[in-house]
């Protein structure tokens, strides 16, 4: 794979994953936190109060991380952060799957329905791959590169 192809792949991965996180964060930030809080509570990892605090914070973090990744600001740090977040989501989904919890809405993209846990788990693996490509090749046409140029 030549450098140009890698750059294009990196850019596409960055825009796809960034866009996805912007959408996911925006949908939840524009809905009542309680809605996402109930979804988090369903995983039976955090109690109601902590779930609500998480529901207040996570949408904004997703939105900021998505925007910064798409724009290519601190690209590698953001790709790492998003990758770590996705691993966290996988852990949550995985434990719910193993425990057979009746999750009706994963909370991933607001209350607008959701896939089965298995499908969400598989989907996140694809997103993790995008995070890796963004981390590895995502600096082309980025703000990082632009400010480095004298």
């Amino acid at each position: 794979m030549n450098e140009k192809t890698r750059d294009i792949l990196g850019l596409l991965a960055r825009l796809a994953l960034g866009g996805l996180f912007i959408y996911s964060g925006l949908v939840k930030a524009l809905s009542p936190a309680e809605e996402f809080g109930f979804a988090i509570e369903g995983y039976k990892v955090l109690n109601a109060e902590l779930s609500l605090w998480a529901a207040y914070a996570v949408p904004w973090l997703e939105l900021y991380a998505g925007l910064l990744l798409a724009a290519g600001v601190f690209t590698r740090c953001n790709a790492l952060f998003i990758g770590a977040a996705l691993l966290g989501f996988e852990a949550l989904l995985g434990q719910a799957w193993l425990r057979g919890l009746p999750i009706t809405s994963c909370g991933c993209f607001g209350s607008g329905g959701g896939n089965s846990i298995g499908r969400e788990f598989a989907q996140n693996l694809v997103f993790l791959a995008l995070a890796w490509v963004s981390w590895k090749y995502g600096r082309a046409w980025s703000a990082d590169r632009a400010v480095e140029t004298p």
Binding site: A29, L30, S31, P32, E34, Y64, A71, V73, F74, A143
Partner: protein
């Protein structure tokens, strides 16, 4: 010390975060978020209606009682051109039984009589609205409408109903609702029946424009 490149990136990150935060907060204020659908028993009119009204209401509020009459008139006048969805926004700090009333109305709705139960709540709001102890009217209305009261009582305490009400309230808070009744007519805010009637003047144009 931070080098110049990092400083520029930090500044850019700060600008992105600041601008996006303001944009989202404004979008919330201007009601640009997705509208949570109300349960079917609290929704009147076809989904494809060109005029979509969401009403945040409180059964113990006199202005809501007056507005309910106006809304009923509008439903009669505009028919399938109008869809009205009710959201609960009980002002519990001034109406101690509003939240209970909303829960019972939803449970009556699950037995197919939301509208009838709501009308009784509005008509008799001065009897139960400021009661010192839990009003007997909730049960009396259910009996009058031949509803299954034990089932309604259990339903009103169920986590599903309580969560649904809390979500309605949280949604109202997020949209900046602080008085009842507050309407969102095709996304545009109207507070009180007067502003609703004012907006209704444009309904004919909207309905005409929507015709194929």
């Amino acid at each position: 010390m931070i080098d110049r490149t990092k400083a520029r990136l930090l500044a850019l990150a700060g600008i992105i975060i600041f601008v996006s935060t303001i944009a989202v907060l404004l979008a919330r204020q201007f009601n640009m978020g997705p509208e949570r659908p109300a349960p079917a028993f609290r929704t009147f009119g076809p989904g494809s209606a060109p005029v979509q009204i969401y009403e945040y209401t409180d059964f113990a509020c006199p202005a809501c009682r007056y507005a309910a009459v106006k809304v009923d008139e509008m439903i009669k006048i505009y028919g399938p051109g109008l869809r009205v969805s009710f959201k609960h926004y009980p002002l519990v700090n001034i109406h101690p039984w509003s939240f209970h009333a909303a829960a019972y109305a939803d449970c009556a709705g699950e037995q197919g009589k939301f509208k009838e139960y709501s009308e009784l709540l509005f008509e008799n709001q001065e009897k139960w609205g400021t009661a010192k102890v839990k009003p007997g009217e909730f049960e009396a209305f259910a009996v009058r409408l031949k509803l299954d009261w034990p089932k309604m009582a259990a339903c009103a305490d169920s986590p599903e109903v309580l969560n649904r009400l809390k979500l309605d309230i949280a949604e109202g808070d997020m949209k900046g609702v602080d008085a009842t009744p507050t309407f969102f007519v095709n996304g545009k805010r109207a507070v009180g029946a007067g502003q609703l009637v004012e907006q209704a003047r444009k309904f004919d144009n909207i309905l005409r424009a929507a015709k194929p």
